[in-house]
C-alpha cells in the first residue's frame, strides 16, 4: 500500500480548521465566542510549540500576548501603518521580547517557568504604569476603536491559528522537529547526535512568542478598547496551558481539540454559572492528571494510531 504524502495530514487539518471557522459565523451568531475560541486555540498551539516540543513550560506566556496587543495598539495610535501591518509588527515585538528573555534558558524546569512568569509581570507593570499614561494609557487602558473591524480581525485570527497549526505540523514532521524531539528527551545525547540544541530551542521559543504576539495584536484589534489586565491576566497563560495539556502537547491536533472543547465548555456555563464551571473544570483537571496525563490525543496513541 502506498504511503500517503507527508503533507496530507497537516493539509487536511488546516483545510478543516479554515472551513469550520469560515462557516461557523453563519451557523452561530455570537461571533465573539468564536473569535475568542480561535484566540485560545492559537495560544494553546503557540504554547505547544515550546512546551510540547522542548519541555519548557512558559507560565508567563501571556507576556508575549500582551506585548503583541500593546505593540499593535501603539502602532495604530501613533503611526499611519495599516492595521494588519501593525498586527505583524506586534508579532515581531513579541519576538524581540523573546530574544531579550533568551538567557532564561540558562534555567530549567520550574525555575524557567517562574522566571518567565516574573518577566511577564514586569512587562505588565511597565505598560500599566501611571507614568506612561500619555503613551500606553497606563492603568486606564488603550483605545483603537477608530480601526474596529470585527470581520477583518476575525479573518486575521483565523490566519494566525492556521499559521500556528502549520508550524506545529512542521515541528512534528520535519528534520527540525526530529531534533527538537531528541533534545526534549535527552539534550546531551541530542547534542552528541549533532543537534544544535541552543539554536533549535531558540527557534521554537521565538516561533511560540511570535504566535502569541500576533494573536495579541489581532485580539487588540477585535476588542479595540481594553485595560492592560485584559491582555496580561495570568488566566490567559493558565487557559493556554490547561487547554494544550487537555488535548495533548507535542501533537498538532491535541491543543486544537483541548482548546475548542474546554473553551466551548467555558463559554457555555463559565459566565452564566461560574460556580459550577469552576467545580467541573477542577474535576476535569483532576481526572485528566489521574487518567490521561498525556491528554486526549493519548487515547489514540495508546492504540498505536499515528496521531498528527
Amino acid at each position: 500500500m502506498r504511503k500517503p504524502p507527508a503533507w496530507r495530514g497537516p493539509g487536511l487539518v488546516l483545510v478543516a480548521l479554515a472551513a469550520i471557522f469560515a462557516v461557523a459565523p453563519r451557523l452561530y451568531s455570537n461571533e465573539s465566542v468564536l473569535f475568542t475560541m480561535m484566540t485560545f486555540m492559537a495560544l494553546a498551539q503557540g504554547l505547544n510549540l515550546l512546551y510540547g516540543f522542548t519541555g519548557y513550560l512558559p507560565f508567563g506566556y501571556v507576556g508575549f500576548f500582551g506585548t503583541g496587543a500593546y505593540a499593535t495598539s501603539l502602532l495604530v495610535t501613533f503611526t499611519s501603518l495599516p492595521v494588519i501591518a501593525a498586527v505583524l509588527l506586534g508579532g515581531l515585538a513579541a519576538v524581540v521580547v523573546g530574544l531579550i528573555l533568551g538567557p532564561l534558558f540558562r534555567l530549567s524546569g520550574p525555575y524557567f517557568s517562574i522566571a518567565n512568569l516574573a518577566a511577564s509581570q514586569i512587562i505588565y507593570n511597565v505598560v500599566a504604569n501611571e507614568a506612561l499614561k500619555p503613551i500606553t494609557g497606563g492603568p486606564y487602558g488603550i483605545k483603537i476603536e477608530h480601526v474596529y473591524a470585527p470581520t477583518a480581525s476575525y479573518v486575521t485570527m483565523l490566519a494566525i491559528l492556521l499559521a500556528a497549526t502549520a508550524l506545529a505540523a512542521y515541528f512534528r514532521r520535519s528534520r527540525f522537529g526530529l531534533g527538537l524531539r531528541a533534545m526534549h528527551q535527552d539534550p546531551i545525547s541530542a547534542s552528541l547526535a549533532g543537534v544544535d540544541i541552543v539554536r533549535e530551542r531558540l527557534i521554537a521559543w521565538l516561533a511560540s512568542a511570535a504566535i502569541a504576539g500576533l494573536a495579541g495584536g489581532a485580539y487588540a484589534w477585535n476588542l479595540s478598547v481594553f485595560y492592560p489586565e485584559a491582555v496580561f491576566t495570568l488566566q490567559i497563560s493558565v487557559f493556554a496551558i490547561v487547554f494544550a495539556l487537555f488535548g495533548g502537547v507535542g501533537t498538532v491536533i491535541g491543543p486544537l481539540l483541548g482548546a475548542a472543547l474546554l473553551y466551548a465548555f467555558y463559554a457555555g456555563i463559565g459566565v452564566s454559572a461560574p460556580q459550577y464551571f469552576e467545580l467541573l473544570y477542577g474535576l476535569l483537571i483532576v481526572l485528566l492528571v489521574l487518567f490521561l496525563p498525556n491528554g486526549l490525543a493519548s487515547l489514540l496513541t495508546r492504540r498505536n494510531v499515528d496521531v498528527l
Binding site: 528534520r175 545525547s189 552528541l192 544544535d196 540544541i197
Partner: protein, 235 residues
C-alpha cells in the same frame, strides 16, 4: 595504523568545585588504535571521556583532535568533527523508536551518508528497529547508544563500560565488534572494569588513580606495576 595521533591530550585538568578530579593528563590515540582506560571507581575514567566529548570542558590544558584545539567547543560541534561516545548508563531517546534514535544522528551529524540498517544489524538491534527505545533491556540500550554514535560516522569513539552486565558470549560479540571498528580506522578509547574483556580488544592501557595517570603500557605489565597494584588494592 597511522603513527600520527588523531587525539592528543596535553596536561588536561578538571576540577569540580574545590576538588580536582583530573591532574595533568597527557596521552594520544592514533587512528585504528584501541586504548583501554582502567582504574578504580572515582579515578577519573568517565571524566576523561566527558572532557574529550565536550560534556565537561577542561579547566586546564589542551585537547587536540587532528591537530585542532577542541576544548570548549559545544558538544554538537565536537560530534560533527567526528568524536562520539556511548554511556555507562545509557542515554538513548527513550520515547522514540530504535530506528529514529539512529536517524537523529545520521541526519544531524553532517558526516556523510550512513547505512542505518547496517548499523542496526552490526549492533544486534535490527529486529528491534521499530520498538520504542525505552522498552529495550539496559544492555540493548547500551548498544543503541553505540549505534547512535556510529551513525555519526565517528573517527574517534569513546566507549564507557559497555561490557558491564553482559554474559561471556555477548562480551565476545562486543569485542569482535570493537576490533572490527578499529580495523576500519576508527580510534577507540574503551573504559572498562572487565580486564579479561579489555585484554581481548587491546594491549595498550592507561591506568588512572585519583585523577592521575599511574601507568601507560600493556595490560600484562600494568598488573605488575606497584603503583597500579596499590591503586587497586591499597597499599
Amino acid at each position: 595504523m597511522s603513527s600520527e595521533p588523531l587525539l592528543r591530550l596535553e596536561n588536561v585538568g578538571k576540577r569540580f568545585g574545590g576538588m580536582t578530579v583530573l591532574h595533568e593528563q597527557s596521552f594520544s590515540v592514533s587512528p585504528g588504535e584501541i586504548l583501554g582506560l582502567v582504574g578504580p571507581n572515582g579515578s577519573g575514567k568517565t571524566t576523561t571521556i566527558n572532557v574529550i566529548s565536550g560534556v565537561h570542558p577542561p579547566d586546564e590544558g589542551r585537547v587536540l583532535f587532528e591537530g585542532r584545539e577542541i576544548q570548549g567547543l559545544p558538544i554538537f560541534r565536537i560530534a560533527r568533527l567526528g568524536i562520539n561516545r556511548s554511556f555507562q548508563v545509557p542515554k538513548c531517546f527513550r520515547g522514540m523508536r530504535v530506528r529514529e534514535n539512529v536517524e537523529v544522528a545520521a541526519t544531524f551529524a553532517r558526516r556523510g551518508a550512513v547505512d542505518i540498517d547496517a548499523i542496526l544489524a552490526e549492533t544486534g538491534l535490527a529486529s528491534h528497529a521499530d520498538d520504542i527505545a525505552g522498552s529495550l533491556t539496559v544492555n540493548q540500550q547500551k548498544m543503541l547508544d553505540l549505534a547512535r554514535a556510529l551513525a555519526t560516522n565517528p573517527r574517534l569513539l569513546l566507549v564507557d563500560e559497555i561490557g558491564a552486565g553482559l554474559n561471556p558470549a555477548e562480551l565476545g560479540g562486543i569485542a569482535t565488534l570493537l576490533r572490527g571498528l578499529a580495523a576500519r580506522g576508527i580510534a577507540l578509547i574503551v573504559v572498562e572494569h572487565l580486564l579479561d574483556f579489555l585484554n581481548r580488544v587491546t594491549d595498550r592501557v592507561i591506568v588512572l588513580g585519583a585523577g592521575r595517570m599511574l601507568f601507560e603500557g600493556s595490560l600484562a605489565a600494568a598488573s605488575k606495576d606497584p603503583d597500579v597494584v596499590a591503586a587497586f588494592i591499597g597499599g
